[in-house]
Each structure stands twice: as structure tokens, then as C-alpha cells.
């Protein structure tokens, strides 16, 4: 019996467990998945919670309900990965799990404690986050009674999950305060270490214009060193200061600590892998994908989904003794909620920046790339259903894993 061990039952891990349990013979393979939590959060939904668009029930389900019965599910913290011995030590019953192949999909998490001054007496009072379930709920409560002032949304460092979420947050905030009849009392500012609203030039320019139209200030090239919580100031490494009344922050992100402890990570605990095959740069029976991997593409569910599809095909070749194909292209596909019932859609990969066009059917759509439309907003809303019912279960989504140029113009 061969043993396949998956560490992490998030978006990537759940999808892989479903796909691989379908593909691999149960007589020959035993699949085990380990995760410390029993709850699966629909993370893209956190964005909507502060504005009362989604509530707790929209984003929380039991992990076990989404994992196939044939997979052995262990709820436990992971103590140490010992790649030289092909084994993983877990906290529960001090067990040691032996593997033939290991897939690391332990994700990325916000680390507010990495920035001096952020976590203290003002945390969740004048300083908030929306990248955690608790943070999003606390911010919803705060916004309901907030009387206005300077709302600053800042990104502490790269990389962070769902690169468009901060933009969406500030677009939705603009809409929310309009609806409450208090937009004139709120000054909205996006502070980012990037040179513009986004990285890729075409998207950055479009999104920069959208910010301007909505009267949202943009402060680029601002890498924060610390927060003076008492003075309500965000301070950069160059000693530039941004004053705020309410700071909504996207904290520094890191991979799981067990990756660092086990000597498998880079300086942020992300796992270095070949960017086209997802095979570890150190061990030939370890793979990593999704947010856990050190890949030069977005940390986002869509990327984990595309990577997962490509990986499963490749893995089936690999276990039959064939060479891995360099098939993963860094494909990402993101709906950007732009407020007032509209959205923007972007589609890109390692080499091709987001371009305008129609998606997924060339010339037809129904979605418009790099352009605001109501249909794009409905795509985003529909995606929650697709996530729970298709994506996690490893079913066909009707979008190719590798990026397509059809229907795009440059």
C-alpha cells in the first residue's frame, strides 16, 4: 500500500483529496489528510462581512463534509516534517505518519505581530483587519457605529492573499458610506508598497483611474515599518507618516511555522518549488502548491484551483515513472468587486498581464475582462456557490487550467 499524505485541508488540500481519491485506486493507495481545524472558511467571503453583505453562515462549513469518505482525516497540529525519514510528526497521540509522497498545502496566514505597534491596546479598536473571520466580524461591528473620519487601508508587505481584496475593500467602503449618507464625512486612502494600485501595468492604470473617479486617495511605494497606535500614525521605513482615525490593515503574511521549523521554507516559511511542476526544490517526493508555495503568482483560490488541476494530471504521470511536464503557467482569475453592484474581471499568468476582452467564451462572455460590468458582479456572487459545490469537490468548472489568449486583445 502506497501512502500519500496531504498537509492542510484548505481550498487546495480539500480539492486535491477529492480529485486524487477519485483517480487513485483504493487497493493501492492510502490517502491521509491532516489539518488542525475542523472549520472550513470561505475566505473570499470575509471581504463582504464588514459591510453586512455576508453573515457568518455564508462563510463557515465543516471541513469533514467536503472531504471524501475514503480519505483518512486527522484533526491535529503538525509538529515536524522530517523529509529525510519520509515522515511527519503530529501532536495528536504523538503519532508519526510515514509517507511515500507528501503534498504541502498549509496555506498562508496574516501575522499582525510582525509589525511593531500593530497588536496592542488599539487592536480591534482603531486598528482592524478583515483577513480573519474574527477580524471581519469585529470590523462589521465597528463600521456600524463609526461616525466618519480618515479611513486608511494599508498593505504591510508582499506577498499577501488575494491581491485584489484591498482594492475591493476600499471600493465597497465607498459604496457603503454613500448608502449610509455619510460619504462626505469619510476620507478614504489606500496605502500600498506597490508603485501603483496593482502590479501589472494595464490593470494598475485602470484600477488607478477607478480609485480617482471614486475620490479615493492612493499613496504608493509606502513600506510601513511600524504603527504608533496611540498617535494613530502609520510610519514607513523612510519615516514618512500617514495619519488615520481608523486603520484597516492587511498584515504581513507568512507560511505555516512548521514549514520553517522543518527547514523546508524560505524567509517567510513558503516552500520553494519549481514554478512549472510544483515539485520541491529539495526533495523529489514532496510537492507544494496554493498559498503555501513560494511561487511568483497570486496567493488566491483560483490559482490553487488551476495549479491543483494541472498537478493531479502530472502526479499521475510521475507515480507511473514518467517525467513531470512543466505545465503550470501561474494562471490566476479574479473578480474584483467595484461597488454599486458592479465588478471587474482579470485573467493572467506568469508571463501575460491582464488584458481586456470577453471571458470565458471569446467574443461572447458573458463576463468582460478589465472592464466594469454588472455581470461581473453577479459572477462574483455566483462564485460562492461554485466554490462549495464544484471547486472544493474537484468537479469541472468549465475554465481551462492554463490561461487562454482567445477573446483577448492587447
Amino acid at each position: 500500500m502506497k501512502k500519500l499524505l496531504i498537509l492542510g485541508a484548505g481550498t487546495a488540500g480539500t480539492m486535491l483529496a477529492n480529485k486524487l481519491s477519485h483517480e487513485l485506486s483504493q487497493e493501492e493507495w492510502k490517502i491521509t489528510i491532516v489539518d488542525q481545524d475542523t472549520v472550513h472558511y470561505y475566505q473570499p467571503g470575509f471581504l463582504f462581512i464588514p459591510f453586512g453583505i455576508y453573515g457568518p453562515n455564508d462563510v463557515v462549513k465543516a471541513k469533514r463534509d467536503y472531504l471524501p469518505p475514503s480519505v483518512d482525516v486527522i484533526v491535529s497540529e503538525i509538529e515536524l516534517i522530517e523529509p529525510e525519514k519520509n515522515q511527519v510528526r503530529i501532536a495528536k497521540d504523538n503519532r508519526t505518519l510515514v509517507y511515500d509522497y507528501l503534498i504541502i498545502v498549509t496555506g498562508a496566514s496574516p501575522r499582525p505581530e510582525e509589525t511593531p505597534g500593530l497588536v496592542g491596546p488599539e487592536w480591534r479598536k482603531s486598528i482592524h483587519d478583515f483577513y480573519t473571520y474574527e477580524g471581519a466580524l469585529a470590523l462589521a461591528k465597528k463600521l456600524r457605529t463609526w461616525e466618519g473620519g480618515r479611513l486608511v487601508l494599508n498593505i504591510m508587505d508582499l506577498p499577501y492573499k488575494c491581491p485584489v481584496a484591498p482594492l475591493e475593500f476600499i471600493f465597497l467602503a465607498d459604496w457603503y458610506f454613500h448608502d449610509k449618507g455619510m460619504r462626505d464625512k469619510v476620507d478614504l486612502t489606500l496605502v500600498t508598497p506597490l508603485p501603483g494600485a496593482f502590479t501589472k501595468p494595464r490593470a494598475s492604470s485602470l484600477l488607478g483611474n477607478t480609485l480617482e473617479e471614486k475620490n479615493i486617495n492612493l499613496i504608493p511605494d509606502f513600506l510601513p515599518e511600524r504603527v504608533d497606535a496611540e498617535a494613530h500614525q502609520l510610519i514607513s521605513y523612510e519615516e514618512e507618516v500617514v495619519d488615520y482615525d481608523l486603520l484597516v490593515t492587511v498584515p504581513v503574511h507568512m507560511g505555516a511555522d512548521v514549514i520553517g521549523r522543518s527547514g523546508l521554507g524560505d524567509e517567510s516559511n513558503f516552500v520553494p518549488v519549481d514554478k512549472h511542476t510544483l515539485l520541491s526544490k529539495q526533495y523529489d517526493n514532496i510537492f507544494s502548491l496554493g498559498d503555501a508555495a513560494a511561487l511568483p503568482t497570486s496567493k488566491a483560490g483560483s490559482v490553487a484551483h488551476f495549479a491543483g488541476e494541472v498537478f493531479v494530471e502530472n502526479f499521475l504521470r510521475y507515480i507511473d515513472g514518467l517525467e513531470l511536464q512543466p505545465t503550470f503557467d501561474g494562471h490566476a482569475n479574479c473578480f474584483i468587486e467595484s461597488g454599486f453592484g458592479k465588478g471587474i474581471l482579470i485573467d493572467f499568468n506568469y508571463d501575460v498581464e491582464p488584458l481586456p476582452g470577453k471571458f470565458p467564451l471569446p467574443g461572447i462572455g458573458p463576463f468582460s475582462l478589465l472592464q466594469e460590468s454588472e455581470m461581473n458582479h453577479w459572477g462574483k456572487m455566483m462564485f460562492r456557490w461554485m466554490y462549495w459545490n464544484l471547486l472544493l469537490k474537484g468537479k469541472e468548472m468549465g475554465i481551462t487550467s492554463q490561461m487562454s489568449m482567445a477573446g483577448k486583445w492587447s
Binding site: 508582499l158 506577498p159 506597490l194 496593482f198 513600506l223 511568483p296
Partner: protein
Amino acid sequence: MTTVRDIAGNEIEFGDDGYMLNPDDWNQDVAAELAKEIGIDPLTDRHWDVINFCREDYEEQGDAPTLRRISKVGGVPTKELYKLFPKGPAKKVAYVSGLKKPSGCI
């Protein structure tokens, strides 16, 4: 479109983004000259610590390191990097070290 410029007696090819195309064309004289172009003169030992780390890290990893990596692995704190290479140290270090423009990808 690429351009070829004479840097400290070497014919160096630059890409569209203004960064050197081939890291192997680089040498210490080239670094000093490129640093001068962006207002850093002279290069101190501390500058060289950073440049040497970036060159070595590029050899191993295939990418110009991020500020976080230079600080955590290379041992030069981010605050100091901003003093050595003011206004955008990640890009400036990559430029002087003859490496590709940092992808800054998200």
C-alpha cells in the same frame, strides 16, 4: 527594444525596463558606474555586503531577492537598506547588482 550602452568600458545590453539583460556581463566597475547614475557614490563596504548577497542569492534562486529576504537572510536590516539605497531599495539594489527588475509580483 534593447539598448547597448558603454558602462565603465563594457558594452552592456539593457532591456525595455532599463535593467541589465545579462547578469553575467556585470562586474564591480559596472556596479560602481550604475550606482553613480542613480546618485549613489561611492559604494561603501556596507553597499557591497548587500550587492554581494544579492548576486549570490540570484545565483542560487534565480530571482532578485526581496527586501524581506535581504534583511532576514542577508542580515542587513530594512531600515539600513533604505539609508544605503534611498527611495525604492529593492529596485535600486537589483539595478546596481546587474539583476532583473524585481517582479514585485502579487
